[in-house]
């Protein structure tokens, strides 16, 4: 028995670590594969089009987390936008902050393949030329992608500065306002809760990340 086992032991190769491969001359740099993650366009940038707008009320207000000075809101708009992929694709580094007038939008989700994004815009007011105030309207007011940043870190002053940049670009012809001629205006939604609001948003644009 022991002789047999000794023979077995000899027949088996003990574990070993291979010697390192020799170094080789550097060749022509290898071809690089392009990433499907589109580069972020220069900002300010505008959506291609406003696809849909739906005003809402919500019985249980919640805090707007997409600006540092956000407060609770009970009214606003659900919006669906079409934009180029680099503005729509979620990414880990800072994304262009989606703004509507003087308000930031809550990005819910996007469908990069279709270039669509759905968002919640809490109600805000715009000051008119005669000094009066009116309610903001995503289908009429300036919608723009501002400098990449975490929305939770921006405040009114930051938004004002970004808006000024966007308006200057608009005036200078380097920014074109999003098309809104074909916008679908849905009737006001009176939602009981945030969950209900999001359920409705999913009807406007299903969340493609849900399997």
């Amino acid at each position: 028995m022991t002789t047999l086992l000794a023979a077995l032991a000899l027949a088996t190769v003990p574990p070993s670590i291979p010697a390192p491969a020799p170094e080789r001359p550097a060749a022509t740099p290898p071809t690089q594969a392009p990433s499907d993650l589109a580069a972020i366009p220069a900002t300010p940038a505008a959506p291609i089009a406003i696809v849909a707008v739906q005003p809402f009320t919500i019985a249980q207000p919640y805090t707007h987390r997409f600006r540092k000075d956000g407060s609770e809101f009970a009214t606003g708009h659900l919006i669906v936008l079409r934009a180029e992929a680099g503005l729509v694709q979620p990414r880990q580094i800072a994304e262009p902050v989606l703004c509507v007038g003087s308000q930031t939008a809550e990005r819910l989700w996007s469908d990069p393949a279709k270039g669509l994004i759905v968002a919640i815009v809490p109600a805000w007011t715009e000051r008119t030329a005669d000094g009066t105030e009116r309610s903001g309207d995503p289908a009429a007011d300036l919608v723009y992608f501002a400098t990449p940043e975490l929305p939770e870190r921006v405040d009114a002053a930051w938004i004002a500065a970004e808006r000024a940049r966007a308006e200057a670009a608009l005036a200078g012809g380097t920014l074109r306002k999003a098309a809104s001629r074909k916008v679908v205006r849905h009737a006001r939604l009176d939602a009981a809760s945030q969950d209900a609001l999001i359920t409705r948003a999913a009807e406007l644009l299903p969340d493609p990340s849900i399997r």
Partner: protein, 742 residues
């Protein structure tokens, strides 16, 4: 033995105690005296350990006659030196019987292609084999002798003390061997592993002790060799840690925690758990990244659940930012602890260990778990359900670094970074600190490990994210391969952190060429860093103090000869490209912000040269620490790096105070310092990406191979020799953390 988790090695059959003892010596002098007791434990009566019971011993006994208390000569241990003890001594009169116990020595090993011919590691994959390296020079009594090689289920020191009978775990019983004579080269014996069982319940590895039974009497007896008696195991026989574990798993697909502290749209969790696993099960919480989904980590949830963990993956509020995501991380953890007993109809009731929690986060979620720990550390978040000590480890997969030094800070929690070299999102780019995951790793002040995977992109670590691969054509490894690496390394890290599982630790520091999960393809390049807790190591030079290049952290002189451009400073790429320019010596080291503090050294060479560290006397004893380790990375796109591509090799030489040397080529241990991933962008010309620090851990026991008079207990210098006959002909090397590890 090399098992830091177990008790220290036995002191052998002699021990010496020096103590101040109050004695009453019969008729004589002292009320108090300094006594030295030197005794042979195997030969009672041999009070002076001379190997015989003789007149000298009798003199000692008589000198203590009448003594009470703790006295030399009290052979009966009854507190008195009297006639009983004299009788015992006379009965033992003469030469002591052979009393050398079996020697605790490392036996399990992998063979090496060059000196030291073997490395005495502990962990072996069960699809492979185990080497038995009996160094003839260290054990001349065994050289050339026939013996029986036994494999015994791991016993504790107490179990060995109580039972010296050998019982082989293999159906065929003990293996006949002939111990090598001459050199160890080519003489590593292959253990017959037929019938060995891998894994032990939740543990992927099963421990076995090894005995070389030289007298072939079937007992552990004097003169035999044993590996594994004094704590830990002789070797660990390991299942495939990239494959599912022993438990069948089930899932609670979607559960709404309905927690007032979590925004309504972020309240869902998915839970994976082992069915019929006994006892309480630790928690693993997963925080996804931006645009990701809590249901995208089934591969990880099922894997960890099959190894006995309860895994909860939750919606993570990443879009507003890291602070918002951190709220969902910490609050979901609390909600899960509070509600787990009622989830899924109560299937988890009484089965969750709420005191053992691991956090895993991906991308922005990787930063949110890190910031979550920081908030617990700072006290800006507290929970009635768990606290800082319950978070046993934090694992970040390609985390962002929005918050920077103060907040994206793991402090001293065991921390792991998993990162793909082809990440097209959190890219490790030089133009933005936000995309530099290694920043967080460098801040980790406790045990830490990184797994850097060539050819893996950001979304390879979930099921369904966009293809963001950015790297050389043909090098993409795909999600299946990337996830096999993730499953293995994450399991190893969690088990090391939660259970001090030393078998798994080797998967965190051994070169990938030397050890990887059975299910991981050998074609995947994985670069590993590992640094133990600072409390278990002594830096010779970690470049954090004594900032001149001529003085090490430990205060010794540093002498560089023949190498060029040696500097030490904050290891921070200071411009926005990866193109090599002399004004940016830390090119590629995207591992620090300017507010961070991780310093390192860097130098280059085109001819033979060396850097020598003088070892202070306080650190000179290398015979007790387990390893000498350092980390190094090739300089990104430096002409010396790109002149010849490949793993970079060098020689590490120890010189003792007698001027004798021991040298080891690091390539012998498995590949050397990894060739940089050949990714382009952020510059022109040569390619190469961020600095890939890799840990090299030289087991100091290996340096005893071949015997000789080299004095490991009195090391004067450590030298890195480069160029010429000592390694790669040219190169540029970032170096750090030259540490003696206990």
């Amino acid at each position: 033995m090399r098992h830091p988790g177990g008790p220290g090695p036995l002191t052998g059959y002699l021990w010496m105690t020096m103590r101040l003892t109050h004695v009453r010596a019969a008729g004589a002098v002292a009320a108090a005296l300094l006594s030295t007791t030197l005794a042979n434990a195997q030969c009672p009566g041999d009070l002076d350990a001379s190997g015989a019971v003789d007149g000298a011993d009798l003199a000692v006994l008589l000198g203590a006659w009448g003594c009470s208390g703790s006295c030399p000569g009290d052979l009966s241990n009854d507190g008195f030196v009297d006639g009983t003890d004299l009788g015992l001594m006379l009965a033992a009169w003469g030469a002591c019987p052979p009393s050398s116990p079996a020697a605790e020595v490392p036996l399990a090993a992998v063979s090496l292609a060059a000196w030291p011919w073997a490395s005495w590691v502990d962990t072996f994959n069960s699809n492979g084999s185990v080497g038995i390296a009996i160094d003839p020079a260290q054990f001349p009594d065994a050289a050339g002798r026939a013996a029986l090689l036994w494999v015994i289920e791991d016993r504790s020191p107490a179990e060995w003390a109580a039972n010296a009978a050998l019982s082989d775990a293999r159906p065929a019983g003990p293996q006949s061997i002939t111990c090598p004579s001459g050199s160890l080269q080519g003489n590593v014996i292959s253990l017959n592993v037929s019938g060995l069982v891998a894994g032990n319940g939740d543990a992927p590895a099963r421990g076995y002790d090894l005995v070389v039974d030289l007298d072939q009497d079937g007992t552990l007896s004097p003169g035999d060799l044993i590996d594994g008696r004094d704590g830990g195991a002789g070797f660990w026989w390991t299942k495939d840690i990239a494959a599912l574990g022993p438990y069948t798993t089930a899932q609670i697909a979607s559960y709404d925690v309905n927690d007032a502290d979590i925004i309504d749209s972020m309240e869902l969790e998915r839970v994976y758990y082992p069915i019929n696993a006994p006892g309480l099960r630790p928690i693993v919480a997963i925080s996804h990244g931006n645009g990701h989904n809590y249901a995208w980590y089934d591969y990880l949830g099922n894997h960890l659940a099959s190894w006995g963990f309860v895994v909860m993956s939750h919606q993570n509020d990443t879009v507003p930012g890291i602070a918002s995501a951190t709220v969902t991380t910490v609050e979901h953890t609390e909600s899960f602890i509070d509600q787990h007993a009622t989830m899924g109809g109560g299937v988890l009731a009484g089965k969750v260990d709420v005191d053992r929690i691991a956090w895993i986060g991906h991308s922005r979620g990787g930063e949110s778990v890190t910031y979550g720990y920081d908030r617990l550390f700072d006290g800006t978040f507290t929970s009635p359900s768990y606290g800082l000590a319950d978070i046993r480890c934090v694992i970040a997969i390609a985390p962002t670094d929005f918050l920077g030094t103060a907040s994206a800070n793991p402090h001293a929690v065991p921390y792991m970074l998993l990162y793909g070299a082809a990440d097209g999102d959190v890219c490790g780019c030089p133009d933005s600190d936000i995309a530099d995951s290694f920043n967080l790793y460098e801040r980790a002040a406790g045990l830490r490990h990184s797994t850097y995977v060539h050819g893996a992109d950001h979304n390879d670590f979930n099921c369904c994210g966009i293809n963001d691969f950015a790297g050389p054509t043909g090098t993409a490894i795909g999600s299946t391969a990337a996830q096999s690496v993730a499953k293995a390394s994450i399991l190893a890290m969690i088990r090391r952190s939660m259970f001090d599982d030393r078998a798994m630790e080797e998967f965190l520091w051994r070169q990938n060429e030397s050890l990887r999960a059975i299910g991981q393809s050998s074609t995947i390049t994985v670069v590993r860093e590992f640094k133990p807790s600072p409390s278990t190591g002594s830096p010779i030079d970690d470049f954090q103090a004594n900032t001149a290049t001529t003085v090490s952290t430990s205060g010794g002189a540093v002498n560089a000869t023949g190498v060029t451009n040696l500097i030490e400073a904050l290891a921070n790429d200071a411009n926005t490209t990866f193109t090599w320019v002399t004004t940016d010596p830390w090119n590629g080291s995207v591992r620090n912000r300017t507010t961070d503090s991780s310093r390192a050294g860097v130098f280059d060479w085109t001819a033979a040269g060396s850097i020598t560290w003088s070892v202070p006397a306080s650190l000179a004893d290398f015979s007790k620490p387990r390893a000498l380790s350092f980390r190094a990375a090739q300089g990104t796109r430096h002409p010396n790096t790109t002149a010849a591509l490949g793993d970079l090799d060098l020689t590490v030489t120890l010189t003792d105070t007698n001027g004798l040397e021991r040298s080891i080529r690091i390539g012998t241990l498995g590949g050397g310092i990894e060739e940089p991933y050949q990714r382009s962008g952020f510059g022109t010309g040569a390619v190469g990406w961020q600095a890939e620090f890799e840990t090299v851990r030289i087991l100091l026991g290996d340096l005893k191979s071949g015997g000789g008079t080299f004095d490991l207990s009195s090391v004067a210098t450590v030298t890195f020799r480069v160029g010429g006959a000592d390694g790669s002909a040219q190169g540029r090397l970032l170096i750090d953390d030259l540490i003696l590890e206990n």
